[in-house]
């Protein structure tokens, strides 16, 4: 048969990507619109107290969150795709994103402006969305476990979507609605050190465990019967990974709002670059995700005088890349 090209992992890319991520990270700190559009010269760190304040207190936490968010969404996407044995799954499945959106909307309407309470409520409903999907899936009486979870996730997401629609409808169009819409589009403009430090621990734990279990993920992507015959306890191991990546995603969504496409498109590209084996594809998705998060947020905050919501940038870039990836000839990474 044709098409049997070597799929050996291209490992020399790793140092290159790591360097690129670090360069993007450093450059992002100096990209901005002060004192003039696009670039803040590093010497201003010493010379201009306002620039120093701006960089250390506003830009730095935001850049860290953008990078971590990209990593978390990408790794979560990779993990979910392998756990659900479906290369088209992303963290928006299982009612997580819509649950968070509903929680945030509720907080904006009931509790008023953005606050830590908003993040707490959003995270609470994100996890609630997962638990509800899980509980519903257990009671669906047909189909395999994966199909049942995905069906339950669709139902739960739709439920929360309806709730968000209702809250939009009753929101005060002058005060609450703009904030609600902006949050639903996803944005990092209000990120503080408090947000960054709240996000950091859960993000690091989830990323570390996922990376440590990266080879095991391959086993968990096999049929249940085969995974069991290979000495794995798929239900338990999947639950552990699922809870961790969803908790990290919920924490990210609580800060940033709905940032779509990252968790779908980055894992796809990582598999194209590094092959299907998660030993290479998962670290690849981590690095690419960090870069993607930074680049998208830089575009969102630097391009125009006013902020473009991050979710719009990720959707735009994600959709274009996704379309390109389907049209351009590459080796297949997913069964039809």
């Amino acid at each position: 048969m044709t098409g049997g090209r070597s799929l050996a992992p291209r490992r020399p890319i790793f140092p290159l990507l790591t360097a690129l991520l670090l360069a993007t990270l450093v450059a992002s700190v100096f990209l901005g619109r002060y004192p003039r559009p696009y670039w803040t010269p590093p010497r201003l760190l010493w010379e201009d107290p306002l620039a120093r304040q701006l960089i250390l207190n506003l830009r730095l936490p935001r850049v860290i969150v953008a990078c971590l968010l990209g990593m978390v969404l990408s790794v979560a996407g990779s993990v979910l795709q392998m756990l659900f044995r479906n290369p088209l799954v992303e963290p928006g499945f299982l009612g997580v994103s819509q649950g968070a959106a509903f929680g945030a909307a509720l907080a904006i309407i009931v509790l008023g402006a953005r606050s830590l309470a908003l993040q707490g409520v959003a995270a609470f409903f994100a996890l609630g969305g997962l638990l509800l999907s899980y509980a519903l899936a257990r009671h669906i009486r047909y189909g395999g476990w994966t199909l049942r979870l995905i069906l339950a996730g669709i139902a739960v997401s739709a439920l929360f979507s309806a709730g968000v629609g209702l809250l939009k409808y009753v929101a005060d169009p002058l005060t609450q609605l703009p904030e609600l819409v902006f949050w639903l589009l996803g944005a990092l403009w209000s990120v503080t050190w408090t947000d960054a430090l709240a996000f950091l621990p859960i993000a690091l734990v989830a990323l570390t465990v996922a990376l440590l279990m990266r080879w095991r993920l391959n086993v968990l992507s096999l049929d249940d019967a085969i995974a069991i015959s290979l000495g794995s306890a798929p239900a338990r191991e999947r639950a552990l990974l699922l809870i961790l990546v969803v908790a990290a995603t919920a924490a990210g969504v609580a800060i940033a709002g709905i940032v779509g496409w990252v968790g779908l498109i980055v894992p796809q590209f990582a598999r194209r670059l590094f092959g299907a084996d998660a030993r290479h594809a998962l670290p690849g998705a981590l690095l690419l995700g960090g870069i993607f998060g930074l680049v998208c947020d830089n575009i969102a905050r630097v391009t125009f005088a006013g902020e473009v919501p991050l979710g719009i940038v990720t959707s735009l870039l994600g959709a274009v890349l996704f379309a390109l990836s389907m049209v351009l000839p590459t080796r297949t990474d997913a069964a039809a």
Partner: protein
């Protein structure tokens, strides 16, 4: 009894039908598969062959009765120990991700590794040795989705062999293969049995059993009709009872062939 024997004693297993009513599939199934043989579990579709394999592996738990592996009740094994003892090749395994052949065969090393461990040089060497043994080393870097049906099935077997199991279970390993690949797969099974692995495979095709098995289990509707050496069990009266249609057994060049017989 040899240490790699499989034995089922009075196993009861109910399944839920589409109306969620419990129906008995096995009602006191007793069976012993001798060590070091190639055993064919032969029977029409729906006779419970796959369920039997899943009960042996603990993917399904019996409602009553005992499954013994190497003299020990199966529940006494940890998942990992069981993974080191028994390998499984299932029917039409679906692979959503396009691993290379070597990456996939390496997954067979999972029961020998800890939860967070990744395979090392020794595991790669074992995976490569298995591929060489069954003549597929030249495919090591190929993507699994680019393989032909026969190559793919052999790669699935290679993954199970990389587990270095003492018992190898296969569910319909030849069902979608052409003649040449059927022979390749069956020859691989015979070769494993010669090396001391206990091989048991399900099939609904009596000629497969006659070709390679030394021990044959005839199943129908959740019951073992006959179990014994191939020469005794692959016979016209037994197969006629199993399949419900008249069959004849003919011998060509020392090999038995089963052909549908004529009425009367």
């Amino acid at each position: 009894m040899n240490p790699s024997t499989i034995a089922l004693d009075q196993v009861v297993f109910d399944y839920e039908d589409h109306r969620h009513r419990a129906k008995a599939l096995f009602d006191g199934l007793t069976l012993e598969i001798p060590a070091g043989t190639v055993t064919a579990i032969l029977g029409p579709n729906g006779s419970g062959k796959t369920t039997l394999l899943h009960l042996i592996l603990g993917i399904l738990a019996p409602d009553a009765g005992v499954v013994l592996l190497a003299h020990r009740p199966r529940e006494q094994y940890s998942r990992r120990d069981l993974g080191q003892l028994v390998g499984l090749v299932s029917q039409n395994e679906y692979l959503p991700f396009n691993f290379t052949v070597l990456e996939y065969v390496l997954l067979g090393r999972a029961p020998h590794l800890q939860l967070l461990q990744t395979p090392g040089q020794k595991d790669v060497a074992i995976a490569r040795r298995v591929l060489t043994e069954i003549g597929l080393n030249h495919l090591a870097q190929r993507s699994i989705q680019s393989l032909s049906g026969g190559e793919r099935q052999l790669v699935m077997i290679a993954r199970a062999l990389a587990q270095q199991p003492r018992i190898l279970l296969l569910d319909e390993p030849t069902s979608h293969l052409d003649l040449a690949n059927q022979e390749r797969v069956l020859a691989t099974l015979a070769q494993q049995a010669e090396q001391g692995v206990t091989v048991a495979f399900t099939t609904h095709e009596p000629n497969q059993a006659a070709a390679v098995a030394s021990f044959v289990v005839l199943m129908r509707a959740g019951q073992v009709l006959h179990a014994g050496p191939m020469a005794d069990v692959v016979s016209a009266p037994y197969l006629t009872a199993t399949y419900g249609v008249p069959v004849e057994v003919v011998e060509v060049k020392g090999r038995r062939f089963v052909v549908p017989g004529r009425e009367g």
